[in-house]
């Protein structure tokens, strides 16, 4: 018998005698479950990532359009308020307030409101230093009067906005 033939024969016989231990099935099955669970766990993650990407895709263009902030009309830009101790959040808050006003007041009222509040803010900025501390003594007599005038003129508008906001 040739060595090749003998090799085939012997390997076949030996292989037949080698039985995969039955307990190995449990182990492979466990690994398989782990794999299947990982896979299931990963898919919502993928969804979340996709949702995140979609959100960013929506946010970027809206951020570009949102540069027409109402608050920008008053301050020029966010850096103005930052120079007076304000933060980005303060700016957003003011913007929110203005948006609320725009929604609650009619067109003429809003225009008037915008003019008044702009003047008020100019004065407020003047008395506020870079740390956000107010120095009312900085105002002249005339300016102080103007400040009170503006406040009283704006009062009905504020009332109207707040009343509608919390009926």
């Amino acid at each position: 018998m040739s060595i090749e033939k003998e090799l085939r024969e012997e390997l076949r016989q030996v292989a037949d005698s080698m039985q995969c231990p039955p307990e190995l099935y449990g182990r492979v099955r466990q690994s398989y479950h782990q794999y299947a669970n990982d896979k299931r766990g990963r898919s919502p993650m993928k969804k979340r990532v996709l949702a995140g990407i979609a959100a960013i895709a929506i946010l970027i263009p809206s951020a570009v359009f949102a540069s027409s902030y109402l608050a920008d009309d008053l301050f020029g830009s966010v850096s103005t308020i930052e120079q007076h101790g304000g933060t980005q959040e303060d700016y957003q808050e003011i913007e929110g307030m203005l948006q609320a006003a725009k929604g609650k007041l009619n067109e003429d009222e809003f225009k008037e409101y915008q003019v008044l509040i702009k003047q008020l803010i100019q004065l407020k900025l003047k008395i506020t230093d870079e740390k956000g501390v107010k120095h009312e003594e900085k105002l002249t007599q005339e300016e102080q009067q103007r400040f009170e005038q503006l406040a009283s003129k704006l009062a009905p508008y504020f009332e109207k906005i707040n009343k509608n906001a919390n009926p």
């Binding site: 003998e6 492979v28 690994s31 398989y32």
Partner: protein, 187 residues
Amino acid sequence: MNDNELLSWLEKAKLGDESAFQLVYQATHQDVYRTVAFLVYNKQDIEDIVNEVYMSMWRTFHTYDPNRPFRFWLHGITVRLVQDWKRKTWRRIRLFERNRRMTCEHFDWTDKAVQQFEMQHELFSLVRQLLYKLRVVVILRYFHDYALEEIADILQIPVGTVKSRHHLAMKELRKRIEMTGGDAYVH
């Protein structure tokens, strides 16, 4: 085993179908186990590698080339993992410890059935003593009946290298047979 059937089970198993996983395991586990056991002798290591082969099956299913037989792909994975395992043990410098174990408790860890066969089957015991590089060629050639070109593909080495390893292995086997006094295989 029917390749098409197996592939559809494998695909389902990959998606988490447990009964499909069972079918795949039933159809392949003996073959995987035997292939690994011919190449690696430590019982614990054999089981680790078999487990890895199944993990790898789900993970690398996308690399399967449908133009080739399923078992070719399976043996490719199996041999690759055996080789990875050998590299890893080398890296962990377990070699020293292994050598010590091999000399101290020679063959203690082998399958009882295999030991018995070693006594009865002289040629097989000689195959077990071959260097891994030569042994893997012998196993793929004479146990799985692959052509030398296919073996080159599985091992990812040139055909020339496979040929020379095959030649060396056979030469070694003949030499050892002569040394042990057998004269049945002269050519």
